[in-house]
């Protein structure tokens, strides 16, 4: 296979031809924050947390393929601030009460907030009115915490081969919808990849919450992305 060579923040990185910048960086032990990108799923390019400058232009690294000789900047003050803004925006767009959310400590949004040092959102909260779908025996969908990343949509289509989810409406009214009136109309199962793909506490299995004590949850001690960075240090 042909390879290309480029740099990220001055470090030389090799990538397979056609590989995305995000994946090439990951293989080289460089962590670029991401939310809607998830391994085994086609990239979505929606959250924009993975934005980097490629030869001066801001691009989403999860969809942009690495080009020979490209100069990629990732850890700059500007991009750090912009990524933070996005995390802040996702918090105020929904209703996130981390202190009693079952996903705390496992949540990628929360983990990114910690990584960026966000203690309180910098924008005014929008307090949208959103529904909770408890109709399904094994799984619930809390729209208050949905960040519209589309991971469940793609996982259900491409991995579970089911098509349980899709987005409806547009703009600020865009929301996740299930194939039917409610979750119980669908053929979703708790073991489906769609459920585990959710990065936040929106799509959750029932009756298994709070199983891990505070302090021992995945992101309590190790910041998100540390696993990738460790590879780079070896």
């Amino acid at each position: 296979m042909k390879t290309v060579t480029f740099t990220i923040d001055g470090k030389i990185v090799r990538a397979d031809k056609g590989q995305t910048i995000l994946k090439a960086a990951e293989a080289a032990g460089i962590y670029i924050p991401r939310l809607c990108a998830c391994k085994d799923l086609v990239p979505h390019g929606s959250c924009r947390v993975c934005s980097v400058r490629v030869n001066g232009r801001i691009q989403a690294s999860c969809v942009q393929t690495a080009a020979e000789g490209a100069i990629v900047e990732s850890e700059t003050d500007e991009l750090r601030e912009y990524r933070r803004n996005i995390i802040d925006m996702l918090f105020v767009e929904g209703n996130h009460f981390c202190m009693f959310c079952e996903k705390s400590g496992f949540c990628e949004l929360q983990a990114l907030a910690y990584r960026f040092g966000i203690t309180a959102p910098k924008y005014r909260l929008l307090y949208p009115k959103r529904d909770i779908d408890l109709s399904h025996p094994e799984v619930y969908l809390d729209h208050n915490r949905c960040i519209l990343c589309g991971r469940c949509v793609r996982a259900s289509q491409d991995l579970d081969r089911k098509n349980v989810f899709q987005f409806v409406e547009r703009g600020c009214r865009k929301r996740l919808q299930v194939n039917g009136e409610a979750l119980s109309d669908t053929d979703l199962r708790a073991a489906d990849q769609a459920v585990s793909a959710c990065p936040v506490g929106a799509l959750m299995r029932k009756r298994v919450g709070y199983a891990v004590p505070v302090g021992r949850r995945p992101y309590d001690e190790v910041p998100i992305g540390r696993d990738i960075e460790k590879k780079g240090e070896e």
Binding site: S46, R48, T65, Y82, R124, F167, G171, N179
Partner: protein, 603 residues
């Protein structure tokens, strides 16, 4: 009833080959027949085209003209663009809503008439205007609005509202519209005589790659706004690997204040179809699609008749003009009320029967576009230029305009001026000349290229219309000195918020936060830090958004801030620390009183 719905919906799906990529047409046909696409209809469609109900719902809820809930037999969509606003939208809306006895967005209890509004419907030169189903009514006044409602109540037939027809082809039996062309200046590219077939005949004497060379030599740049060199785009598509290729004409014309494609579609239809066939020949495509915005539905029968006629005359179809093996057919894809579908990859999504969400790039459409095939998307005017270039030659075309932007540009000028309408002018003309031509007085601000481009104040009226200075896809909006720039910016923020596809965070959320900041300042509660926040948010949204909509939406805000200077004093002040200046105590108390149902003793 349910059985009938299932049967008819099934027939509609069958008419479109039970093809999920034709879901737009299917949903529109169902909506036309039943006044909505109900959950039952969505189930039927999903079954027939072998898709999922949620996919159908995703499409139906995306487009402004489609609806899950029942709508009236007649839907009145009052255009709510800022130009209509300036020309009396509010009083017309008020009059119609009183006459109907319903408020905006509601349907009369008998289910006959729905009153709602639409973003710019492409009639800014004859505002206030409205769509009544697909029929356009223009120059509304409160009295005419009331009369219109009374007439509709009697016959429920929008076509009967047309008592006077417009000029040119608006008078054609298949159009019969009261829309006027308002062509104020006729240039040599679009409004000179054009002998049907003449450009195509010349093209067919050349090899396809020589047609591309001709377009490159003319230095024709896309007229839709971005100004991408047309020849280069065609070359990329011609060289891309793949069998089938497509030529798409972008007739979505959604940019507020733009209506020049409306006139070209009405008066230069042949020249447009000829440009598409030439493009097809050049890039090796046998299929063209015209993506026509839903607002221009009234032009569809006429457009289709011109396609028919050209088929008969051998300008379309098989062995065009006797050239063995060269085939080119054109179909019209209707849009359904979504500005974002003007963006070329969103347009392609829409043609594929999907919500109009832009696609990730790369790949770019000339590499992989419609149904994964190499596709060129060109604006109506670009394709009209093509026919003329092939007829008159690249050198002739390149001799007009400014050095780096050749040819002429069709502008649609509207707003505070005496002569709104369409002007074909050479590139390089100054903004000041446009003010004079359109007889505008007291001009304070212009939006060059509509809200997605630049807002300029008088210090830049010497600037020139071309891609290196004041770039425009055609819209020129003129505002007099009395208009509040920040309010203009806020109006268009509302527009972009409404029209964002909602896919990416910076655009979906950022615009709402930006709007809040702008509103706070307009309300007189602004602080100096708000101006900084507006600037920061604007730059963030422009740089981080995924497509051209988000990358452009804050431009009016930045423009207003730049020419804000003198205004800021009245709007913005330092406040006491710890106060929330945008918090209105008495309003909050009234809200609370309404809820508990008694008067407060505090305020």
């Amino acid at each position: 009833m349910k059985r009938a719905l299932a049967k008819i919906t099934g027939e509609i799906c069958k008419k479109f080959g039970n093809d999920p990529t034709r879901m737009m047409d299917i949903a529109m046909a169902v909506q036309e027949r039943f006044g909505c696409v109900s959950p039952e209809a969505m189930d039927e469609i999903a079954r027939a085209v072998n898709s999922h109900r949620v996919e159908v719902e995703s499409l139906v809820t995306f487009y402004g003209f489609l609806s899950v809930k029942p709508q009236g037999k007649v839907v009145i969509r009052l255009c709510r663009d800022i130009i209509d606003w300036m020309k009396g939208y509010e009083s017309v809306a008020d009059a119609m809503s009183r006459e109907l006895g319903v408020s905006m967005g509601e349907t009369t209890p008998d289910g006959a008439i729905t009153l709602t509004h639409a973003p710019c419907i492409g009639m800014s030169d004859q505002a206030p205007a409205a769509l009544v189903n697909e029929v356009v009514v223009t120059h509304l006044t409160p009295e005419r609005g009331r009369q219109l409602v009374r007439d509709l109540r009697r016959h429920l037939d929008p076509q009967q509202l047309v008592t006077m027809v417009g000029d040119g082809n608006n008078d054609h039996p298949l159009v019969r519209s009261m829309v006027r062309n308002n062509i104020r200046m006729r240039g040599p590219v679009h409004f000179a005589d054009f002998e049907p077939g003449s450009g195509l005949r010349r093209a067919l004497t050349l090899k396809p790659m020589d047609v591309i060379r001709e377009i490159k030599e003319s230095r024709l740049r896309g007229r839709g706004g971005a100004g991408f060199p047309a020849g280069l785009k065609w070359e990329m598509a011609a060289n891309a690997p793949g069998g089938k290729r497509y030529v798409i004409c972008n007739a979505d014309e959604g940019e507020p204040g733009t209506f020049k494609d409306r006139v070209l579609l009405t008066e230069c239809t042949g020249q447009l179809l000829e440009g598409m066939a030439i493009a097809g020949y050049a890039v090796g495509s046998d299929t063209g699609i015209i993506y026509l915005r839903g607002e221009y539905r009234y032009l569809l029968p006429y457009l289709e008749s011109v396609i028919e006629e050209r088929l008969r005359r051998g300008f379309l179809g098989r062995d065009i003009l006797g050239k063995k093996g060269f085939r080119f057919d054109v179909r019209v894809q209707m849009g359904a009320g979504a500005y974002i579908c003007g963006e070329e990859t969103a347009l392609i999504s829409s043609c594929e029967g999907l919500p109009g969400v832009p696609k990730n790039r790369p790949p770019f459409p000339p590499q992989q576009g419609y149904l994964g095939c190499p596709t060129i998307v060109n604006n109506v005017e670009t394709l009209c230029c093509v026919s003329r270039i092939l007829l008159e030659g690249a050198a002739w075309f390149a001799s007009m305009g400014s050095p780096r932007t050749t040819g002429t540009k069709v502008l649609s000028i509207c707003g505070d001026c005496r002569k709104p309408g369409v002007y074909e002018v050479p590139f390089g003309i100054s903004a000041r000349e446009l003010i004079e031509m359109s007889e505008a007085e007291n001009t304070g601000t212009m939006l060059i290229g509509g809200p997605c481009r630049q807002m300029i104040g008088s210090e830049r009226f010497g600037g020139r219309i071309c891609y290196d200075d004041l770039a425009t896809g055609g819209a020129i909006l003129i505002f007099n000195r009395a208009r509040n720039k920040l309010e203009i910016a806020e109006h268009y923020l509302d527009f972009f918020i409404e029209e964002s596809c909602g896919h990416c965070t910076p655009c979906r959320v950022g615009l709402i936060l930006l709007k809040k900041a702008v509103h706070k300042v307009i309300e007189g509660a602004g602080e100096p830090s708000d101006l900084a926040e507006m600037r920061d948010l604007s730059n963030f949204i422009i740089r981080m958004s995924r497509c051209g909509l988000g990358q452009a939406a804050p431009n009016p805000v930045l423009g207003a801030l730049e020419i804000f200077g003198d205004l800021s004093a009245g709007f913005v002040a330092e406040r006491k620390p710890g106060l929330l200046p945008e918090f209105d105590l008495s309003k909050a108390v009234i809200d609370a009183e309404m809820r508990v149902g008694r008067q407060s003793k505090i305020v």
